[in-house]
């Protein structure tokens, strides 16, 4: 019998493969391109493909020729310490390998490297004729900020209408939002189930589910909803049976407080789980804090879009805001998911994380939570090899008495 989780993983991987260069270029219909995340319900309802060039670059680092792509990005000279996912994206752009979009939407969310990519996209001469829209994602999370960003998203709709010469179908946008709310609810349910000890399902499925539901061309479609329903159903069954992940004798539960990147989950995290029983029960893309989009009125809808984008989008939540919020999330996750330790990969391209390491360490020390800071490159395994990362983490678990 085929394991349902393996099947789901395969489906999600096929969906995520769409985010690599060739399928992105082959997408049909109007194309909106961004330098990062956008509020995907909007292009989905408008009938546009949306391509996040950062993700295309990030997915490039998972390809067999990743090292070559990263080196070509470095050779451009955009900045020697630029995040390598962005370097690959810059290379795709500057080498003329991308399909010309119909519109470009850039914002500062959520890091300086992505800003740099946005600036390159906006200044790219062959795309000088492409209409552009720019947004400011504030580093604050309150009603004023949600309203402020929501207004910009409303302006983005007007911009798209003007460029495309057609109107947004508001009924369709509502339908998409209803579907989106359903999917987010399912992700939250899956997250609740993951609190069980032992962890009932491959933690990576949460990350894949979020990425599948947020970023792929299938986003906010019933296909993804069905995928999530199957995931929740199968996980519920496991929890009822008190079963953990197949073949894993769970001994340690930990939080990986960064992106998994393109190589860590298949190498380091998989080995830790299989060989040591150390399960990464949460990472910062998987951590869901979704609230439903308020459909009571157009302004309410856009304000809740603003909130979802600024506070609930996983990477914006962790990268745009205060260290207090970052630390509060760590504490909440550790408590709710019964984590024994926190691993801070401290990706070299994440200026925000690298600016708050002392405060995270101090907090963990104060609360008695073992914390390891790695300082790795989540897109380029030449910087810290999987073997070295595995060795450092396993040594950490041994020295802290967790193994």
């Amino acid at each position: 019998m085929i394991n349902v989780f393996s099947q789901l993983k395969q489906e999600a991987n096929m969906g995520l493969f769409q985010l690599t260069l060739d399928p992105q270029n082959a997408s049909k219909g109007p194309l909106v391109m961004g330098n990062g995340d956008f509020f995907i319900e909007i292009p989905a309802a408008f009938g546009c493909s949306f391509s996040d060039l950062t993700l295309t670059g990030a997915n490039g680092t998972a390809l067999p020729n990743a090292a070559e792509l990263i080196d070509k990005g470095t050779e451009l000279g955009v900045g020697s310490r630029l995040c390598n996912a962005i370097k690959v994206a810059c290379y795709y752009l500057e080498a003329g390998l991308l399909r010309t979009p119909d519109m470009i939407m850039t914002s500062n969310s959520c890091c300086d490297s992505m800003d740099t990519l946005g600036n390159l996209m906006n200044a790219y001469k062959p795309w000088a004729h492409v209409p552009k829209f720019k947004m400011d994602a504030p580093h604050s999370f309150d009603d004023e900020s949600y309203g402020y960003f929501g207004k910009q998203l409303r302006q983005a709709v007007s911009f798209m209408e003007e460029v495309a010469g057609r109107k947004m179908d508001w009924a369709r946008l509502r339908e998409v939002c209803v579907e989106s709310n359903k999917q987010r609810q399912l992700l939250l349910e899956f997250q609740e189930l993951k609190k069980a000890v032992p962890c009932p399902a491959e933690p990576d499925l949460a990350r894949q589910g979020t990425e599948y539901a947020t970023w792929t061309l299938d986003r906010v479609s019933p296909k993804v909803t069905h995928w999530l329903e199957q995931l929740v159903g199968a996980t519920e069954q496991r929890v009822k049976e008190g079963k953990g992940i197949d073949g894993v004798n769970e001994k340690v539960r930990f939080l990986w407080q960064d992106l998994a990147g393109s190589w860590a989950s298949g190498t380091v995290l998989a080995r830790l789980q299989k060989e040591l029983g150390a399960v990464c029960v949460m990472d910062y893309v998987s951590y869901a804090t979704w609230t439903p989009i308020d459909l009571s009125s157009e302004p309410a809808m856009f304000t809740s879009f603003g909130k979802r984008f600024l506070l609930e989008d996983a990477m914006n939540r962790q990268a745009l805001h205060t260290t207090d919020l970052f630390c509060e999330d760590i504490l909440r996750i550790v408590k709710d998911f019964r984590c024994d330790a926190v691993i801070m990969p401290a990706h070299i391209g994440h200026r925000d994380t690298n600016s708050r390491l002392k405060l995270v360490r101090d907090m963990c020390r104060q609360k008695g939570i073992p914390c390891l800071v790695l300082g790795m490159d989540i897109w380029d395994k030449r910087y810290m090899t999987p073997e070295v990362a595995f060795d450092r983490i396993s040594t950490f678990f041994q020295t802290t008495g967790l193994l």
């Binding site: 451009l76 000279g77 955009v78 900045g79 020697s80 310490r81 630029l82 995040c83 962005i86 850039t106 914002s107 500062n108 890091c111 300086d112 490297s113 800003d115 740099t116 990519l117 946005g118 600036n119 390159l120 906006n122 200044a123 720019k134 947004m135 400011d136 994602a137 504030p138 580093h139 604050s140 004023e144 402020y148 207004k151 910009q152 302006q155 990268a319 205060t322 260290t323 207090d324 401290a346 070299i348 391209g349 994440h350 200026r351 925000d352 690298n354 600016s355 708050r356 390491l357 002392k358 405060l359 101090d362 300082g375």
Partner: protein
């Protein structure tokens, strides 16, 4: 190539810019004056001046090691300028500050606030504001609200009222200083400028490091001296413009000018960027006037997604006005916003046939020999000399 100004007024500026604490601050504090530090050029000094506070732009001057800050900011991955500045905070160099406003321009800079707040350095007033990453009416209105919060915070902490009248007066006052600084810059359009690039940096740095009224008077006096100065027609090899982020020391200018070049102008966060344009001096709302200036009229930070056309226009304008031979784009390792901007600029300058040298460096490092070699080669190329 220093101009060799012999002027007690200039000596005062040079002294003030060469260190963090200086006699002008000591005198101000002795009279009961308060000093408010700030980071980033978009933090409006006008509000500080209206509140009767002396603005001090936080810099890393004198820092030999960022060791203390490296605990907070991972050394390999965070810009050395931010680390050195914060190291100076931690080492007590800024203990004279009565407060600080952190302008969250880039990712590293905005985290100074969180780290400062949790550090052992207890500064009585700490506030932060964020620069919008795009320019538009909506962003200017949002930034205006942040300025309003800053105003309220200052009123509550320092126990005073910031009336519109005080704000308009401060706006006019700061515009006047900007006009004087522009005049100083304009003097360098001359074939043989009466003041060098390094000396200009010192004068501009002093402007955000000493009481403003005193600075205005001193700058007027210096300009009087410079206007009538007999400038020797020394030969030089090339006229250069420096572009990039925090340029709070004279090191690059010194190298260029020691090698026979002239730094005729700059567009940096401590120099040419801060003297651009002026704030509207009348209208319904002084805070909106300041916000419009920073967000709509002067978006020179590449963290702003709309900044590039402004930066490009300004640079190409200066190439003509200052008769420039080449551009040196200098930035710090890990400053990707400026690295990206310099990459774009380089392409455009190349198309226009304007030579550019891009430098990624560490703040306060020992690599001046390497810099010297690269800059020397660049200047020789510009002057048609043998390499």
């Amino acid at each position: 190539m220093q101009s060799g100004i012999e002027s007690p007024v200039f000596d005062k500026f040079a002294q003030v810019s060469a260190s963090i604490m200086n006699p002008a601050i000591e005198a101000w504090k002795q009279q009961g004056g308060k000093v408010l530090g700030y980071t980033c050029s978009f933090v409006p000094e006008e509000i500080f001046v209206a509140a009767g506070l002396m603005p001090f732009r936080i810099r890393g001057t004198g820092s030999k090691s960022a060791g203390m800050a490296d605990d907070y900011f991972e050394a390999a991955n965070i810009c050395s300028f931010v680390r050195h500045c914060f190291s100076q905070v931690l080492s007590g160099e800024y203990s004279f500050l009565d407060g600080a406003v952190i302008g969250g321009g880039c990712d590293a800079n905005r985290h100074i606030f969180d780290n400062w707040k949790k550090s052992p350095v207890k500064t009585p007033f700490l506030h932060r504001i964020f620069y919008p990453h795009h320019s538009g009416e909506l962003m200017a209105a949002y930034f205006r609200n942040q300025l309003s919060e800053l105003k309220t915070g200052l009123e509550q902490h320092f126990g005073m009222q910031l009336t519109d009248q005080k704000l308009w007066e401060a706006i006019r006052f700061c515009n006047e200083i900007r006009d004087l600084q522009k005049e100083l810059y304009a003097l360098r359009k001359a074939e043989h400028p009466p003041i060098s690039g390094s000396e200009t940096v010192a004068v501009i740095l002093a402007g955000c490091s000493m009481p403003k009224a005193q600075y205005r008077a001193d700058l007027k006096a210096l300009l009087d001296e410079l206007r009538g100065a007999q400038v020797p027609a020394n030969e030089y090899k090339a006229r250069i413009m420096i572009v990039g982020p925090g340029h709070d020391d004279t090191s690059i200018c010194d190298i260029v000018e020691d090698l026979g070049g002239v730094v005729a102008t700059d567009l940096t966060c401590f120099g040419g960027k801060i003297i651009f344009g002026e704030v509207a001096e009348s209208g319904p709302d002084p805070l909106q006037a300041i916000a419009d200036y920073q967000v709509l009229n002067r978006p020179f930070c590449p963290k702003n997604l709309g900044a590039h056309p402004f930066i490009n226009k300004e640079i190409f304008g200066r190439i003509k006005d200052y008769k420039l031979d080449g551009i040196i784009g200098q930035t710090f390792l890990c400053c990707e916003t400026w690295s990206g901007e310099l990459y774009i600029l380089n392409k455009e300058l190349k198309e226009a046939g304007v030579p550019m040298l891009r430098i990624e460096r560490e703040y306060a490092s020992d690599s001046s020999g390497q810099l010297q070699t690269r800059i020397q080669a660049f200047i020789e190329t510009l002057s048609g000399g043998a390499l």
